[in-house]
Symmetry: C2
Subunit: 599 residues, 2 copies
């Protein structure tokens, strides 16, 4: 295994210089997030990721999970010890409210921490990630009594958590949900139905598992407006609130998947013997709203998975490229050259590095906006940032997962033949990553959400505001004489912002008359938005690096490399915006007019 090195320098730079850690720490409720505390947390998390999670990742892939004849699911060896340590260290509640045992830290702080978990062991990390998502949902939707009963245990990680949404006939289409809930005289419900793709639906890492299950009441309206949310624990609680009688639910199979072998993906059956006991969370038929809270949380988290896997893959590739000696340098003619010096390998590594920095800057900035939206005392500022987060969410998920896959793909390529052999570990990252553009809403779903709910519904106002911000950054750089790189970057940023603007206007112009063209071009549009938003953030990275250089602060070699990487991104990735804009507008139109029967 190639050691994981927590990318603390990049993290700290982006937190402080770009994402406004100072500002966040000044917001009411975020006072704990001082620079020293955050630095200590990141270091400790980095040690844990490198020392506990990374070493068991490959073994988890090899062993996978097993469903025994008695219905028990075995997770890989090492999982239990690591989970206990993870839980005891309090990592799960990092950003949960103090009232429920959490540490109440802002999302800006938890984001880099979770990035490190995903980098080192994605299959494992999906378990505590589910607790975080479920805690968010319960916090908002559950009754006070429910919170007291369940939320503490979920925040502490004493019990596991799951999201039960998908059914065989209801994948992206939740309207087709069939699982039903029957009210009982004692106020509880009995649930009947089957759920698929339930991550950590069954395991023995915790003494209980709290399932959040989407189901339909008998007299519920059709479609998604007739879905309700239920707490259905694996074990019912006894008088002391401890796990007692087994509930009527079980794991009936686990999937044989291409990756994330260490995470059991269960088919859960509810109510085979009279009904699984559950309790309604929130109002009847309003389950989807609460579920969306979890999903939005989870979608951002999956974007961070893209970043985390990409960072790890980059570290693998860079380490291999520095050690592997092969051929002579085609430029210098030197023999016995590590392949990192070969121009094409260097290109791939630079592309990885640039995209990782862009993703990190984008995701951390979005996390900062999220905190501002939740904590800023000025409601206008808070609302503005909530809208920014909303419009960016499909990109944070869709673009960062697509790019995460591309980076893993390039990293595998750097390994050559060794990349295809499982023992190096890069193949696992490549396989693991392939799920992230699918679950929590495919890239196509994200793109639909972007053009539909996030743009057309509000006539593109928030995105237009964001483009204004991007152009303001471009103008700042164009006028910044401190480093010749900045006007260059600024000009290119202005150009690609124009592409995004043009594309936005096309969406608005065609959204009602030619929706099929807009939807046919929605994914290219999402990519376009991602390329521009990533470029914007890298431009800000370069701007901040020049600022520090000018002030004589920091490591000048490192700061210069940030500027150079931003330049490279603008030259190498930026022009994709032209291709995506054309693919969206002209391509989308061709999609719409094509006769689908002729495929």
């Amino acid at each position: 295994m190639i050691d994981y090195v927590p990318p603390l320098r990049d993290m700290r730079f982006i937190l402080s210089e770009l994402a406004g850690l100072d500002l966040i720490a000044s917001l009411p409720g975020c006072e704990e997030a001082g620079e020293d505390v955050v630095a200590a947390i990141l270091e400790e998390a980095g040690r844990f990721a490198a020392g506990v999670l990374a070493p068991i990742n490959r073994q988890g892939d090899i062993e996978g999970c097993r469903l025994n004849a008695d219905g028990r699911v075995e997770t890989p060896s090492g999982w239990k010890a690591a989970y206990d340590q993870f839980r005891e260290s309090g990592w799960i509640g990092l950003s949960a409210p103090v009232a429920f045992g959490g540490q109440g830290l802002p999302k800006l702080v938890s984001t880099p921490v979770w990035e490190m978990w995903f980098s080192t062991n994605m299959a494992f990390t999906m378990l505590p990630q589910l607790n975080v998502s479920q805690a968010e949902a319960l916090q908002i939707a559950a009754s006070e009594e429910q919170k007291q009963t369940w939320l503490h245990k979920i925040v502490s990680g004493e019990w596991g958590a799951t999201m039960n949404i998908t059914e065989p006939q209801a994948g992206s289409d939740l309207a087709a949900t069939r699982t039903r809930a029957e009210p009982q005289t004692d106020g509880s419900y009995r649930l009947f139905g089957q759920k698929i793709y339930i991550s950590y639906g069954e395991h023995e890492l915790t003494p209980n598992i709290v399932h959040l299950v989407l189901a339909r009441l008998q007299d519920a309206p059709k479609g998604v407006k007739g879905l309700s949310l239920f707490i259905v624990p694996k074990y019912l609680l006894d008088a002391e609130g401890q796990p007692g009688e087994k509930n009527d639910l079980r794991c009936i199979s686990i999937e044989h998947k291409m990756g994330i072998h260490g995470s059991p993906t269960c088919t859960m059956s509810y109510g085979d013997r009279g009904g699984a006991v559950g309790w309604l969370v929130g109002k009847p038929n309003r389950g989807l709203e609460s579920m969306f809270i979890m999903m939005n949380e989870a979608r951002f988290g999956v974007g961070v998975q893209g970043l985390g896997l990409a960072e790890r893959a980059y570290q693998y590739a860079l380490s291999y490229a520095r050690e592997r000696v092969q051929g002579r340098n085609a430029v210098s003619g030197e023999a016995g050259s590590p392949i990192v010096h070969h121009s094409d390998v260097k290109r791939m590594l630079m592309a990885m590095r640039a995209r990782i920095l862009a993703m990190r800057a984008l995701l951390y900035s979005a996390a900062g906006w999220f905190d501002i939206a939740h904590h800023h005392p000025d409601p206008v500022v808070a609302e503005r940032h909530r809208r920014f987060v909303d419009v960016l969410m499909p990109v944070a998920k869709g673009w960062c997962t697509e790019v995460g896959n591309e980076v893993c793909d390039d990293a595998l390529q750097v390994f050559g033949g060794m990349g295809f052999v499982e023992e190096t570990g890069i193949a696992q990252l490549f396989r693991d990553a392939r799920i992230i553009t699918i679950y929590e809403g495919t890239t196509g779903i994200q793109a639909n959400d972007l053009v539909g709910r996030k743009i057309l519904r509000e006539n593109g106002e928030t995105l237009a505001e964001l483009i204004k911000e991007i152009r303001a950054t471009a103008v700042e750089l164009q006028q910044d004489g401190r480093d010749a790189a900045l006007p260059l970057i600024g000009n290119r940023l202005g150009d690609i912002a124009d592409e995004l603007d043009r594309a936005l206007n096309w969406v608005l112009a065609n959204g009602s008359e030619s929706l099929g063209s807009v939807l046919g071009g929605a994914v290219p549009f999402l990519h376009l938005f991602g390329v521009v938003a990533g470029g914007w953030q890298l431009a800000r990275v370069a701007q901040a690096a020049v600022g520090k250089l000018s002030a004589g602060e920091g490591d000048s070699g490192y700061l210069q490399s940030l500027i150079d990487i931003a330049r490279f991104y603008m030259a190498y990735e930026g022009p994709q915006s032209v291709a995506y804009a054309a693919a969206m507008m002209n391509g989308g139109t061709e999609v719409d007019r094509f006769n689908v029967r002729m495929l």
Copy 2:
């Protein structure tokens, strides 16, 4: 399993209308390739692929191969019976010379046939593919006596064949080859060394295996000009020419790979017990030249793998998309819609279909050029087409394997969560495909070959000629009033040909002064060339389809769909040429100036 349907209609259209089957069949030595014979061969091959190879593909993936304690390698169940049937049907010698038991058919005919093998079972097909490559090399480099001894058995498939090139320290860098050969008094040699990544290096599907091994004579010059080629059989031949005494070579391990599990990838050890007996093929120190013959043959074949896997993945995705009902059609609002009607799924399927057609048209056209180069009586015409094949080879390999992976990736995406689950089979295609951009020279190596040997060495003359051809097609379409689509396609083809021309001039202008920039942009340049060459061929598809429509021939719906797909490609894929050209020129320059230590 989703049934494989041989894409005979597309194949026949491209063979006849684009790749000049008529012309090829008129060349001396190719007279067998009449339209009826070819149609019968394709149908028979399609039946074999669908009926024999496809059904064992998934089982081969699940079972994989095993190295037993006694050194025997077990291939998946079903392999032996399928191989015997394959061999007995004479498929291996399809394009081998009649003098050695082959059928002497042109490459234009064998290419679609092999496409079908790769579509249905790539891991299996690598075995007979090695026979074809080895037969090519022996035919050109071996002595008459060697041909009589070995070539018949390789062409018939009675014996297996391997290529032994790579060593642990010598991957892409053959100069580092260490395996050595010591001459014996009887004219034979004794070989000592270790070779890795030897596909089908050991198995029991044939009573003997003929290894072609690259090794170094003791007094050989350093580097690649000191490599010689040797025949080293698994069993030495007895007086009757039958496999007798075991040679001093063995498989010491097999790789655990991400894909192509049915193909054993062996580490071979030669000479542990006194030396493996071998015979020099061709002249001393000239082994690489013969090996290059095999490699060129194999590279084209790997390009066809990209096409074959893409076609199969497309069939999987299309079949799933037509059956899977999910949600309501966002455009029409209709509920219970098969996902093929969702705009984004339609987009992905169209992109797959367009790229597959482009690859097929390009590869078949190249196969036709290959036949013209080998058989045309006019040496000027032959030489011109040889140069076309040469300059196109890195694209046929590099671009078609990259695009093949993209298509498999899109196909998996269409399956959503089911794509990540192994049982559907699409995950296997995705995993299998990942090796093709690596073996027989990574995409980076192909791109270096393209800008170095194929362009800079001859001052770009052949590519300039090819661009002239592309522009001529563009002008023809621009002036063709029979269908409004043609001028549209022609204009866009002209635009992207300009991008390629501009990029070529940049390569020529910077090749000596700024080689690092050129090599840093070489892979984007390869992609650019691929996008344009593929677009050229699709433009020709549209042109031919309009021709048939105008003549009132053929199925008008099908022909119209070809025109529409070509339009879509130009609108959707074509603009990538702009991005690749910029990534190459501006990006390559940034690569060159970046300090590699700052990665």
